[in-house]
Symmetry: C2
Subunit: 198 residues, 2 copies
């Protein structure tokens, strides 16, 4: 994983950004059936156009011939994946990894709040990033989440740090905070395989 | 939470299904810049059309005037949320809750595998569902995930059951399996608030 969002193919990133706006509008529209049908026609046209040439599997397993990082399709940080927020991952002093992201309507669980599982997704990634080395990703062994209170939709900060390292295991801790303080804390063990795990 | 996917407004569900196909095509397309630009134009038109009337906040906090369930916008089970797979939640004998879902390219973490955080999202929801009562959702207190091996993209089964109940706390256990067996196990404590927590 690198500090950028994982895309070197300039046409795909604006496409994904448009689809992110579309996801939000799809959830929040109150337009009538006629307008919705017209919008659906546009979307189906776009799907047909983009499908004229599709890689056979997921993004990560394709043959990387064009310099796009393998993480471009990642659900959390992939610049090409419209599901990804995607956050910019910062690395601070003392091995701290942090990001600030706005989680909107697409990530809702309890009304007005981020789904607890999305908090888990964010924390899994941020805690895991403390153990990542370039070209040598770490895999989650265990992850424990403690939900202190609901996380309101909007701007959140996620951060993590290494508690200790034992052999191939990195023990990481982290948290999500909003303007009022901590909403979720996490502890995880991440494994850096000596070879290729898969 | 109900056993259906949370939508009674028939025009919005096919719209979300089209956007799900678009998300997959956006990640997997190998079309050239001209085709991508043409598709983006269609998408931006659809965004503009759907945005002619938008609810001001997220789906869950709006005034439900049209019979659509509050969960229609949910990131995991919302029929209107293109990020949601969305699974059909089954309830079996002995309080078992289970679902079978196909997790494709949009949910990728390690190449060819489901992101560990998406496994957490699925398990948070399925374990939580063991504690849900109609109109009285349970909130995640703690959740612990143990990753046995990578979860390949494709069809997975997630299931959960109640281990025990102590007052407002439901202790649930669960797992994700593929055709080869268990990939992730989970334990969680879910709180059913006596009043409205938010």
């Amino acid at each position: 994983m690198t500090a950028n969002n994982g895309s070197d193919a300039p046409e795909y990133e604006p496409l994904a950004q448009s689809v992110r706006r579309l996801i939000d509008a799809t959830i929040r529209t109150e337009a009538g059936a006629g307008t919705v049908a017209a919008a659906k026609t546009h979307i189906d046209c776009a799907v047909e156009q983009l499908s004229e040439s599709l890689m056979p599997g997921s993004f990560g397993v394709r043959d990387p011939v064009d310099g796009q990082p393998v993480t471009s399709g990642n659900v959390m940080i992939g610049a090409r994946n419209p599901v990804a927020p995607p956050p910019t991952i910062h690395r601070g002093a003392g091995g701290v990894v942090w990001t600030e992201i706005t989680l909107g309507a697409a990530y809702e669980g309890p009304p007005g709040h981020v789904h607890g599982g999305v908090c888990a997704l964010v924390l899994d990634h941020i805690l895991g990033a403390t153990a990542h080395e370039p070209g040598r990703p770490a895999y989650t062994g265990t992850l424990t989440l403690r939900y202190v209170r609901g996380t309101p939709l909007g701007l959140v900060r996620a951060e993590a740090w290494v508690d200790r390292v034992e052999g191939v295991k990195t023990f990481a801790k982290g948290q999500i905070t909003d303007s009022q303080g901590i909403t979720v804390t996490a502890e995880g063990v991440f494994i850096t395989p000596r070879g290729d795990r898969h």
